[in-house]
Symmetry: C2
Subunit: 290 residues, 2 copies
């Protein structure tokens, strides 16, 4: 496996463990449910991207930890809601029972809602920097989570029939996963005050990375083992979901993954800072087996 | 009925009708579901409070419309999620079928999630003012919606047994409805840059108003007609919910409502600006019949 920026991941992991949303006894069960999903491990790709993008501009990655944590809180909230019986109805996630299986549907919905609110609150209260830039970075992040992003993509996913064409499938994933991955890269750059010109290769990198991430996900759903995936292999197929693999075949999906990876690396070659961490993340996403 | 600041309500209503979250064809159904709940009418108490609080400081109320709209989006999102089968399982709201009845549970969950994201995005992109104050106002608002507010209160509500005492019932409602009503008053003041000293009577006013609102809600659930309420009368009782009326009796609940109203009016007497609108809202909340 390619080297992953584990120093950044450890910073994220440690920071997430320190978060306290309230000291009130009456909501202890809610906070337990939030932590259960938030501290379930994983590669923390989105917040690590955020720290890596900050480092590529010469900033100390730890200065964007509040923003990075908010991104992971938002990602976690989306997983909890996506797994609900009314949505994808998944009972396993990262090898553990999903939130509603452990805590009930009502608490799972609220754990998701709570993580989203606390994500925004955390940025407002803890992110340092020029207020105007913080506000812009937050705007970039929430735009990626709303109708023009994650929630819109999930809507297309749950309502789409199986007659999607490739363009519609790309739009679905660009909204559902691509936008948040993109904002993980761009929001710390907005915070750093990068102009649009310097931002441009980062935006292209992030867009390719989003596509790459999803295609590899679809490939792994077919080729991975249950144990590696932390959920039953082939679950997309059983859910009747259209994927890059079901639409284009395994071989063509692998080709597109390679092309996206190359395009992502090409975009990185144009940035002016040190892109080592971002390159490693792109390589890892291509080569990962879970 | 006491005079309600209908000029402010009309400003809110008109502004909400202009909101466009995306022009993308693939998410049109999601936006329809969001609008269905958002444009269902009502007194718009929270955004009207926001505009009224701004006016009391001498500001033009229209300058806080983006913030006020965000508050109503958040309130609407909370109603959609509270009505879900896994939560209160309500099929009627303001005389119309609830979101999940019309659009299905999956779309209802996403409509709520989408309204929350777009609320924050709208403030980030459209609220004018000093960025630091906007950030602080947003922080005040989202703190009222998270674990230490609306979501935390809803958690206590769905998990509490029927052995709550009066103190716990007050805590539940202070979180579930009181905090957002409070932030409706205080967030525009933060935006206006009011110091803590001038803010103090407003905070006391908002806290009493939250209590008043909930007690009157509980009284109306027993004394109102189905038609006035827009939902079946007595639904709290059938859901086995503890209310101020079931805990203390109708007479004592009415006394507490009167006391809270008086305390709210007393707090308003201490503010330095023109409190006419805020007084009218307090009177309306006490006297309303739906």
């Amino acid at each position: 496996m390619p080297a992953y920026p584990d120093d950044l991941r450890e910073q994220v992991e440690e920071y997430l463990r320190t978060l306290e949303f309230s000291g009130r006894a009456s909501t202890a069960g809610l906070r337990e449910a939030m932590s259960y999903s938030l501290l379930a491990g994983g590669k923390r790709i989105r917040p690590v991207l955020c720290l890596a993008a900050a480092r590529s501009t010469g900033a100390d990655p730890s200065t964007v930890l509040p923003l990075a944590a908010a991104i992971e809180l938002i990602h976690t909230y989306s997983l909890i809601h996506d797994d609900l019986p009314a949505m994808d109805d998944d009972e396993l996630r990262r090898g553990r029972p999903t939130s509603h299986v452990v805590y009930g549907e009502d608490v799972a919905i609220l754990a998701g809602d709570g993580l989203f609110a606390e994500a925004i609150r955390h940025v407002c209260e803890h992110q340092e920097g020029e207020p105007e830039r913080i506000l812009n970075a937050l705007g970039e992040l929430v735009a990626a989570t709303g109708v023009e992003g994650m929630v819109g993509g999930q809507y297309v996913d749950v309502t789409a029939g199986d007659d999607l064409d490739e363009a519609s499938l790309r739009e679905l994933h660009s909204l559902k996963t691509g936008k948040l991955i993109g904002a993980s890269v761009t929001s710390p750059l907005v915070l750093a005050g990068l102009g649009e010109e310097r931002m441009d290769p980062y935006r292209r990198f992030a867009a390719e990375l989003g596509v790459l991430f999803q295609i590899v996900d679809d490939i792994l759903d077919v080729t991975g083992s249950d144990e590696e995936l932390g959920k039953p292999q082939g679950s997309d197929e059983r859910h009747g979901k259209l994927t890059y693999v079901s639409l284009l075949g395994l071989e063509r999906a692998r080709e597109i993954a390679s092309e996206s990876h190359r395009a992502a690396r090409d975009a990185l070659a144009e940035i002016s800072g040190d892109a080592t961490d971002l390159e490693r993340i792109a390589d890892f996403i291509l080569e990962r087996d879970s």
